[in-house]
């Protein structure tokens, strides 16, 4: 979408990355022979995310997929989450999630440079800070991921 045609200059939230991933997610689907699976749903808007994954011997995410039915924010958040957590173990994922949620809550300005580096692609959601009611769209995939990582499949 050319800049001149953008509905507003604050278009950063829906930058190409988010819209692109929402339209054609890279990590859509389910992992065959998954050793973990979890779901998250937001009854208020009907968004739904299912995550399945397989871990390696060290407990690091070796393969991860999501089936997401929801708004662009939700689907893109699930896809970028999947990309970002590949290769990480539960502890690292937990830290990443906290950092992500802190960025949504407090905004990019309140996020440290090293923190921003760690968040990588997830920085695409920084402006969600301004859209409080949409934040849960971006965190829903993480609830599903937590459930997938938990022994009993519940967050």
């Amino acid at each position: 979408m050319p800049e001149a045609d953008a509905p507003s200059s604050a278009e950063a939230l829906y930058r190409a990355l988010v819209v692109g991933r929402a339209r054609t997610p890279v990590f859509a689907g389910a992992v065959e022979g998954a050793d973990g699976a979890g779901e998250g749903a937001n009854p208020l808007c009907g968004d739904r995310v299912a995550v399945s994954l397989r871990r390696d011997a060290e407990g690091r995410v070796a393969e991860i997929r999501h089936e997401s039915d929801g708004c662009a924010i939700c689907v893109a958040a699930a896809d970028l989450m999947a990309e970002t957590v590949s290769g990480l173990d539960a502890v690292a994922i937990g830290a990443l999630r906290s950092g992500f949620e802190a960025m949504l809550r407090d905004g990019a300005a309140a996020t440290s440079a090293p923190q921003r580096d760690r968040l990588g692609l997830l920085n695409a959601f920084a402006d969600l800070h301004e859209y409080k009611s949409r934040r849960k769209c971006a965190t829903l995939p993480w609830s599903a991921l937590s459930a997938a990582l938990a022994p009993d499949g519940k967050e």
């Binding site: 979408m1 045609d5 509905p7 507003s8 278009e11 829906y14 819209v19 708004c71 949409r134």
Partner: protein, 412 residues
């Protein structure tokens, strides 16, 4: 691109009465198209409430002193205004409640307690949750049946289905919306009332939307109950209205208990005040009633016919503009409709639309609009909804359409 404007009365000068319309949101001029959720307030309402608090306020009814007497006079005067606004037969038929929801719950509890377990309440697929849940709770309490009349694919109340549900004469009350808050559909209330009465049922209309967008005459409709809510009629929150035929109010047991609704109180048993006070327990929403009175004065001065004509022209214009947008589908095609339009955009989630519009200062609602069963019936999980008020302009409709078109291209 600009469509030909259907000509309606020019109410744009009235915008000056609504200070909030001059606000800026996310750096853009506010375009408020969420009035069906709650309308903005004119200075006349704001000032009426402020002035009461600044100059003439006390609790009402039992006070013998000047402030209380005068406040009571103003408070009770609003009952007359509401009665005139609805074409009620008597001021005693007006019961003040907290909102439409409280009014419907009152009827569900009080009139509902008079229904026999083998009777039924008949609603429709088009109802707001406020006109669904109270009846489910009544069903679960007393064992009456809850029946549901269908909605056609065009988004109209299916009168054949209504007739079929009424056929066995077991329906004690028909309770349906007078105007859908999702589709804008205006239901044929007089005809529904006739059908209900022929089947021996009473009829209630949820006028939460209708009373805002068109003149209402409960006697001409031959209704038994009618409810609306102040905050959608340019009034404050915290105040709603139940109109009911006097003989029904008199036959109904009280709902909430407390001060002001009693005759005499003894622990063994108490007696109740005359209607409508029997149904108004506790300190009423005095300031909000005063605000509602100012709101009714305001719309009456403009004229509900004028407001209706304005919104009709606006809606026609909006339908024309929106339908021209590629991939946009207007949900609901009833010819009889008010200024509420739901739509879906191919490939775009309603929430994303709402957020992208919001970035441009345009407030619309997105979601299920407290009408999940209707969404399910229409095979939708959510829609975006633009809704109009007396202060909405065709320029605002154009901004909506232009921005939507860009949003579509952006998300596509």
């Amino acid at each position: 691109m600009n469509a030909v404007l259907p000509v309606g009365p020019d109410l744009s000068a009235l915008r000056a009465d609504f200070p909030i319309l001059g606000e800026t949101v996310r750096g853009k001029k506010l375009v408020f198209l969420d009035s069906a959720a709650s309308a903005q307030k004119p200075v006349q309402v704001i000032d009426a409430m402020s002035d009461a608090m600044r100059r003439q306020y006390a609790n009402v009814h039992r006070g013998l002193h000047w402030m209380s007497e005068r406040t009571s006079d103003v408070y009770e005067g609003v009952r007359d205004k509401v009665a005139a606004f609805l074409g009620a037969g008597a001021r005693e038929e007006i019961v003040f409640t907290a909102n439409s929801t409280a009014a419907i719950n009152l009827v569900a509890h009080s009139f509902g307690s008079l229904l026999k377990p083998d009777q039924a309440v008949l609603i429709s697929e088009m109802e707001h949750h406020a006109n669904i849940i109270p009846w489910q709770l009544l069903r679960d309490r007393t064992g009456i049946a809850l029946r549901v009349a269908r909605v056609t694919d065009r988004g109209e109340l299916d009168l054949d289905s209504l007739r079929a549900e009424l056929a066995d004469g077991k329906v004690g009350l028909v309770s349906v919306t007078h105007m859908s808050n999702v589709l804008g559909t205006v239901t044929p209330a007089a005809e529904i009332a006739r059908m209900a009465h022929e089947a021996g049922a009473r009829v209630m209309f949820d006028g939460s939307q209708a009373a805002v967008h068109q003149p209402v005459d409960v006697q001409a409709l031959d209704a038994d109950f009618y409810v609306f809510t102040g905050h959608k009629l340019y009034g404050p929150t915290g105040i709603g209205v139940l109109w009911a035929r006097r003989e029904l109010l008199e036959a109904m047991p009280p709902f909430l208990g407390g001060g002001d609704m009693i005759g005499t109180v003894r622990f063994e048993g108490s007696t109740w005040a005359e209607v409508p006070h029997k149904f108004e327990a506790g300190t009423p929403a005095i300031l909000e009633t005063i605000g509602l009175g100012a709101a009714i004065d305001y719309v009456q001065r403009i004229g509900m016919e004028t407001i209706q004509a304005h919104e009709r022209a606006l809606t026609a214009h909006a339908l024309q503009r929106l339908r021209a947008i590629e991939g946009l589908r207007v949900v609901g095609e009833a010819p009889e409709r008010g200024g509420v339009i739901s739509f879906a955009l191919a490939g775009a989630h309603a929430h994303d639309i709402a957020t992208l519009l919001d970035q441009n200062g345009i407030a619309v609602r997105a979601g299920t609009h407290c009408a999940e069963p209707l969404m399910r019936r229409l095979g939708l999980t959510s829609t975006a909804r633009a809704s109009f008020a007396l202060y909405t302009t065709s320029e605002e409709v154009d901004v909506l359409a232009d921005t939507l078109d860009r949003v579509r291209r952006f998300l596509a």
